[in-house]
């Protein structure tokens, strides 16, 4: 009878290790891909705000004036959408779940000094580049009329002349 067959399983189970874990003492090892919670590396984040736009539950808020990035963990559905869309790759998904809490909190992270300094340096460099480019353009424009007068008329030159007018 098959019941005898199942008895074999029952007896085997009596003498083998349990399939379950003693949970709080033996924590679970999560696979690499487990979507536990979102972590933001505030040293790299430039507060572009793309994550808050792409978040399906609007759990992320980016305050550019106050230089903070905040998340409401209770609204987050761990879909990994923000991580996939992050241009700086500062967002990542930790494979451990957050601790249970008794109230709905909003976790706010200020942008780190390092990130602010890096961003300001970048902005400064960009401004300098822009200024240099503008200066070069102005110089080129100043030279252009002289060159134009010498050379025969061409559509490109006609445009430059128009701009000067």
């Amino acid at each position: 009878m098959s019941l005898v067959n199942f008895n074999k399983t029952v007896i085997k189970n009596l003498f083998s290790k349990p399939a379950t874990r003693k949970y709080p003492f033996e924590p679970k090892e999560y696979p690499e891909r487990t979507r536990g919670h979102v972590v933001n590396d505030m040293d790299v984040c430039v507060l572009c705000g793309l994550c808050s736009i792409k978040c399906p539950t609007r759990a992320i808020t980016v305050d550019k004036a106050a230089k903070t990035w905040s998340i409401r963990p209770m609204s987050c559905i761990q879909c990994r959408c923000c991580v996939d869309n992050c241009p700086k790759k500062c967002l990542s998904m930790d494979n451990h779940f957050t601790e249970p809490g008794s109230e709905k909190v909003t976790k706010t992270f200020p942008q780190s000094e390092k990130a602010i300094a890096a961003q300001e340096a970048l902005m400064k460099a960009a401004k300098e580049r822009a200024a240099a480019a503008a200066a070069a353009k102005a110089a080129a424009n100043a030279q252009a009329p002289a060159a134009n007068a010498a050379a025969p008329a061409a559509p490109a030159k006609a445009e430059t002349e128009k701009k000067e007018d």
Partner: protein, 361 residues
Amino acid sequence: MSTRSVIPFGPQHPVLPEPIHLDLVLEDEKVVQAIPSIGFIHRGLEKLVDKKDFHEMVYVAERICGICSLGHGLGYCDAVEHIMDLEVPDRARYLRTMLSELSRMHSHMLWLGLLADAFGFESLYMECWRIREEILDMFEIATGGRVIFSIMKIGGLRRDIPDDMLKDFRSRLDSIEEGLKIVSKPFVDDPAVKNRLVDVGILTPEKAELLGTAGPFLRASGIARDIRSTGYCAYGDIDFEPITSTGCDSYARTEVRIKEIYQAIDIMRQCIDKMPAGAVDVPVKPNQLPNGEFMTRIEQPRGEALYYVKANGTKFLDRMRVRTPTFANIPALVDVLAGCDFADVPILVLTIDPCISCTER
């Protein structure tokens, strides 16, 4: 002439933690009539098309139900991809097929466990769920979630499943098959189990056809109707036959589901063997918006599910509609319940594999 009495069954009842309510009209111990009422967990998910754009609706579709989560995401994405004329890459099609079969395995294992629990075979129930745990672990390794997978997206899959992971899955499938062989024996051979299942809740093929039944409930009445045969995803390239049984009773339904788990293992192996290389998604540009309407059908573990999407050229859809297998099976359930013993009601409610969350959305 015996007196009639009405016994309310549910919304909280001993079968499964989902709220279905039945008014059972009894004559002594026989059920004369069953009047169902649903609507206890309506959440208005379809109405969310007003607030969430069509990319975000994938996450909403996945949350229709915790068991058929993958299938709902797949059905919705399939419909939108047809509207937008997106060609899903081959690898994504195969991975989708593989994951749907994995989802079918976990749904059927869950059902077998619940069935064992319904007739009081506790240790068999635990064994079934132990095997299901291995399947859920595979899901977690592949997608990062055990219930909500968040791997579907419009245009393919959000993450690739690398080849070495697939190789690991193959060996895991072997161990699952071994466990399944032990677990499925009591369901098929055990005389005590047979007493509870054989000739309980007969649904004739004519009635099944007439009442629009779907899924294993229909196939157990001898009608070979399986939406996978239409060849959506990669099912067209896979070698398989719909599983039927001519028993028409609860035993036949158990048999069909057990055989479907073996078939799912076989289909997964075929998918892994034939897995093409390449990308898993086609990029969707921000200005690429759906316009038009489409209706698609897929075979969920519980039966045929229908997805209707109507888009208007903006990022918000006009309508998203899901018709789920349980909704199709309730008329047949009511028919089967009439004339059965009161003690068989839990088993019969279970044999349609009810998913009330899906039904009410």
